[in-house]
């Protein structure tokens, strides 16, 4: 342990065009088959198209709460999750829809979550993509950032205690690295040699706060030195580089070599949530990232150069549109939660709480389908927004 952290800020792995063509032709150093490389495309495109659908539904006020968009970060989510196996568990962030899809979350579940349906994965109790399924291998985050690091340290501690060759992966943003939970969780995992990969998605902003106001480290992977664990920085907008860097950390963890940090460099091209107009981003930055460093455009160019015909990708796109249309219909057909369900399942025992006397009979007295105007919608932006 100790001293093995390597940060490669200037010399990020897998930058576009850096790999010799001969390597790429056979699936490259990543060792991915043609089928797998097309899967990466499918998951990234599904993420983007599903979020585009959600934006439309949001604008039609068919999404109950806020909307969180991972535009431009699809590669870091998909590539890192793709490095895991069945049986491994990850804990996503709000911009890791792609990671959850790779682990088996379905579009209809996502849509029902956003629409707060009674048969959504959380039965209308939690927002957006805050849900999980330990069988499929993802545990939903909570809003206080950094909290999932200690939790995933415990998940992976259980793998180690039971002698299971399973790995955990937890995502944090640049902002969460400032929290106490991040520090305590990663230090605990390091000391216990937990098979945990901590992926730091450095997307430039935590809500409106730029990275330079979070930390003075040049690269967040440098923090690994302080925990005596390996750290690596990779290009998060290159899905293959992301996959490769994460895979190295996952393999180390599976071999019993403990915890690692993988920092993925990317850029948040949308606001914190859909209501946020990003007035704090310097002019031209959003356009520059869209034009020069879009992860899907880059990957399409790479696949084309590797000989994947355009119509094959178009067929995938068409399949995705069909899937999303079907999922939207199914989500819209499902009902709202029954009010009394709000009182069940706080504990295993007792299984439910009694309604208070003024609610006995259980009839809903609030009109739950109305969206409070104070929430700040697309149609009524918060004061000061342009």
């Amino acid at each position: 342990m100790g001293g093995s952290a390597k940060s490669r800020g200037a010399e990020r792995t897998g930058v576009r065009g850096a790999r010799p063509a001969a390597e790429r032709d056979s699936g490259g150093a990543a060792g991915l088959t043609r089928k797998q490389r097309l899967e990466l495309y499918y998951w990234m495109r599904l993420t983007r198209s599903l979020e585009e659908r959600l934006v439309n539904l949001y604008r039609q006020t068919r999404v109950v709460g806020g909307l969180f968009h991972s535009l431009g970060q699809e590669a870091d989510a998909v590539g890192s999750a793709y490095a895991l196996q069945r049986g491994d568990i990850l804990s996503p962030l709000i911009r890791n829809l792609g990671s959850m899809l790779v682990k088996g979350a379905t579009p209809v579940e996502i849509l029902k979550q956003y629409m707060a349906r009674g048969d959504s994965p959380t039965r209308g109790r939690e927002l957006n993509i805050h849900f999980g399924d330990t069988e499929r291998g993802f545990i939903g985050q909570i809003s206080p950032l950094g909290d999932m690091v200690p939790v995933m340290a415990g998940v992976t501690l259980s793998f180690k205690m039971r002698g299971e060759a399973r790995v955990g992966l937890v995502y944090v943003g640049d902002g969460a690295t400032s929290t106490g939970a991040f520090h305590e969780g990663i230090n605990f995992a390091a000391v216990q040699r937990c098979p945990l990969v901590v992926v730091i998605e450095n997307n430039g902003y935590a809500y409106s706060t730029p990275t330079v106001k979070q930390s003075l480290v040049k690269q967040f992977a440098d923090k690994a030195i302080g925990y005596g664990i390996p750290g690596e920085t990779a290009d998060g907008n290159d899905v293959v580089a992301t996959y490769e860097a994460t895979k190295r950390a996952v393999d180390r963890a599976r071999r019993g070599e403990g915890t690692s940090i993988v920092e993925l460099m990317t850029f948040r091209r949308k606001g914190h949530a859909e209501h946020d107009n990003q007035s704090y981003v310097p002019p031209g930055e959003l356009e520059r990232w869209a034009a020069e460093n879009d992860p899907i455009d880059r990957y399409v160019a790479r696949l084309s150069s590797e000989g994947v015909p355009t119509d094959e990708l178009q067929a995938i796109d068409a399949r995705i549109q069909r899937e999303i249309d079907e999922a939207t219909d199914a989500a819209e057909a499902s009902g709202v939660p029954q009010p009394l369900d709000a009182l069940t399942g706080i504990y295993a025992d007792p299984p439910s709480e009694r309604p208070l006397w003024f609610r006995e009979g259980g009839a809903a007295v609030v009109q739950s389908s109305e969206r409070p105007s104070s929430w700040g919608t697309f149609d009524a932006p918060a004061k000061g927004a342009d």
């Binding site: 909290d147 200690p150 305590e184 605990f188």
Partner: protein, 325 residues
């Protein structure tokens, strides 16, 4: 059966539960070879190994969070707070993460957070606290606070076997002062059930933890000097509260004094008072009175601590006022 201390009773429960269920493990600061600051976990690591009795970094967020993650995967962690005062460091993890996990994500989180609590020990502001009220307010957590050795053992077994998170407050003043005979066999004291510590007909004192003994002392004095028959109800579990037992004693004696060592404002006495007045107003012959700590951080000097915390003469005074009402 020989008598053992409250502390030994807790330790026995930990040994027996680790023997019974391989998923039970311990995690905490200095709990392994050292046996913990109060030696509650002494001998556990020697028997069960350092993989099941884990010496952790100083990291309350880390170990409570890790316990939650392991619990999701089917383990049954028991976390020690070296002093329960430090549970405040893990407040977010317990209230935002652990308490909501079953409700929002259908994730079982069977875990126990235990630790030495309470004053009367000259521990000063950070080794004497009773922070139970903050957690009772959080749906999704259970809170127990035993006063006898047998209850300490039986409730620890119940807490470890419970499918949700149980906060287990151990009163450090009672650790070595209180002894009791253990029932033979594997006896589990159910969570959510109060206990009548002393039968009476004239007045009820509702209390828990160390002040149970102050209440019993006061009751003896009141019987001797005033001829009053005082009932003492030991809550044992603070969340969920045993409404049936509380209302039954109120309806029996019609006069209620609530005693707790925690500070006054926002303490459990307020909640009990509200429940009693909502459900038993017609049975009350006098206003409900409280004897609690003063609303100050707990000071160190004996003369200060004794003034701030409830004492037996305070309980006698309040009971006499109630009886005379």
């Amino acid at each position: 059966m020989p008598e053992i201390t409250y502390l030994e009773a807790i330790r026995e429960a930990l040994f027996e539960e680790m023997d019974r269920d391989p998923n039970v493990f311990m995690i905490g600061e200095d709990i392994g070879g050292f046996g913990g600051a109060f030696k509650v976990t002494e001998g556990l690591q020697a028997k069960f190994g350092d993989a099941r009795v884990i010496d952790s970094p100083i990291s309350e967020i880390g170990i409570v969070g890790a316990a939650a993650g392991a619990a999701h995967m089917g383990m049954r962690p028991v976390v020690e707070m070296q002093f329960i005062d430090f549970i405040a460091n893990a407040y977010d993890m317990l209230t935002n993460y652990v308490a909501t996990a079953r409700y929002r994500a259908f994730l079982p989180t069977p875990m126990v957070v235990r630790g030495p609590s309470g004053g009367y020990v000259r521990g000063g502001p950070f080794h004497s606290q009773n922070p139970e009220a903050g957690f009772i307010h959080t749906p999704g957590l259970k809170v127990v606070y035993p006063s006898t050795a047998a209850d300490a053992k039986g409730l620890m077994k119940a807490a470890i076997r419970d499918d949700d998170c149980v906060l287990f407050f151990e009163h450090k003043y009672l650790y070595r002062r209180i002894k009791g005979e253990m029932p033979s066999g594997d006896v589990v004291v159910p969570i959510g059930k109060a206990r009548i510590a002393r039968e009476g007909t004239d007045l009820s004192i509702i209390t828990y933890a160390a002040t149970v003994y102050k209440a019993l002392e006061a009751a003896e004095q009141l019987e001797r000097e005033d001829g009053l028959h005082v009932e003492v109800l030991d809550l044992r579990t603070l969340a969920p509260l045993d409404d049936d037992a509380i209302f039954a004693t109120v309806k029996k004696t019609n006069r209620v004094l609530i005693v707790h060592e925690d500070t006054r404002t926002g303490g459990i006495a307020g909640e009990l008072t509200a429940r009693i007045s909502e459900s038993c107003f017609e049975w009350l012959d006098a206003p409900i009175l409280r004897v609690t700590a003063h609303d100050v951080p707990l000071p160190y000097a004996p003369s200060l601590e004794d003034f701030v915390l409830p004492q037996t003469p305070d309980i006698v005074l309040a009971a006499r006022r109630l009886a005379a009402y």
